[in-house]
Amino acid sequence: MSKVSKKIYFDYAATTPVDPRVVKIILPYFTDKFGNTMSLHGFGQIAKQSLEESREKVAILIGAKSNEIIFTGSATESNNLALKGIAFANRRKGNHIIISKIEHPCIMESAKWLEAQGFEVTRLPVDKQGLVNPNDVKKAIKKKTILVSIIHASNEIGTIQPIKEIGKICKEKGVYFHTDAVQSFGKIPIDVNKMNIDLLSASSHKMYGPKGAACLFIREGTRIEPILHGGGQESGLRSSTVNIPGIVGFAEACKISKKEMKKESRRLTELRDKLIKGVLQKIRGVHLNGHPKKRLSNNANFWFEFIEGESIVIQLDLLGIAASTGSACSSAKLEPSHVLLAMGLRDQEAHGSLRLSLGRWTTEKEINYVLKVLPEIIGKLREISPYKKDYV
């Protein structure tokens, strides 16, 4: 097989490197501008000012007001705050929450925990391409419904949900609408007003910012309880010393994404389509997971007949290509992806999935290299498989 010395990264949906422009902005915040935002002295005031400027930069990316952005430490925390915070603040109105079957584990597990606390959860199905039907949302909303939470773009299959339509339904019914926009934030235009979004989660490390910084957009006037209690930072909704370097980096990453989104999206869509087309043409018995058009510009996800995903990922790694079987979180588990199963794939089919996610430094040369080595890898693994039939 072909050899390559350079490592090729096709796992931008798991995490991204920090943009060097962001690194440059962050560095002084570790040494000179290290103050605590709660301090009254000059160090604290500089930190406080940087925090508020950062809030503005993040808000502007989604058409929000800066006081509607709460900084957190991770998307998992944002999603926990959204679900638990809304659930406990609105208990008097009702105890019913609606999510989809293809949410990220931090939504799935938060919902499961809320069920144990006496809340009722409806998990909406998706079609074969991973789409939630807005009519299903409409039908599922009842008098006691307090929150609908649907992922904007799937971390595994990249399918983009009809968020605007779902948001409209929630607004008409007077139900809070939250979306986990971790994968779409900074990649496609989002307007929380036009899309009728009440709460939105986003994370810095998925968009070339540092890890440890994330946010939750909370529409002004929303009834929500904090899950962390303490010094009252972030309008009392997220007590904790504020991670200024992380947040400043997150904000800078937002600024860059806003400026480059259109051009970058077009570039990545072209590369993604070349990759998808190439894989489907060069290899037999391979299927695209997710929607062919309504998908993130950086996501390609396939399932290969007769072979298993981890074997493909390790073979690729041996050739210097970093990929994933689905989500990074699932790699320690044996069960196939709940997202693929929800789309109607059988266990064995879901086990054969491979996610290649592109990003800011993906080149056409890298796409060509994957297209060159992947057929060899698939062929070799099929030779070993008992199910191979005449595919070898």
Binding site: I314, L318, L334
Partner: protein
């Protein structure tokens, strides 16, 4: 390379004795319903110089993860040349030891491989006995 030892990756990268065997003397087909792994093991039995029955040839076909393929490969190497009785002593511990260890979550792969071999040998013994009976 992820959670695996060098030996596991080596066995995965260059697996030995894979592929289908025509007219084997014994077949062992096993599967794990949780992780979806499937392992088919084929054996051919012949005689060595001393006239003892030994596993002359062995092949596997596996649908599964890195650990499943590596354990399949190593068990064929461990069993080749052994008498059926000796081969039945190859258990999960021997397989794990030969691989320099397996992640705890993948230990079941070694159990799967050992039971495939056991099934293939039993299949051979049952067929052999049936032949003997029909001769009588």
């Amino acid at each position: 390379m992820g959670p695996y030892t060098k030996k596991v990756i080596e066995c995965f990268k260059n697996p030995k004795n894979y592929g289908r065997m025509k007219n084997p003397d014994g077949i062992g087909k096993v599967g794990n319903p949780v992780c979806g792994d499937v392992l088919w093991l084929y054996i051919r039995v012949g005689k060595d110089k001393k006239g003892r029955e030994i596993i002359k040839d062995i092949k596997f076909e596996t649908f599964g993860c890195v650990a499943a393929i590596a354990t399949s490969s190593i068990i064929t190497e461990l069993a080749k040349g052994k008498t059926p009785k000796e081969a039945l002593n190859i258990d999960k511990n021997k397989i794990i030891k030969s691989l320099g260890g397996l992640p705890p979550i993948k230990v079941h792969c070694s159990v799967l491989a050992a039971s495939a071999l056991e099934k293939a040998i039993n299949d051979y013994l049952v067929k052999k006995n049936a032949k003997k009976k029909s001769k009588k």
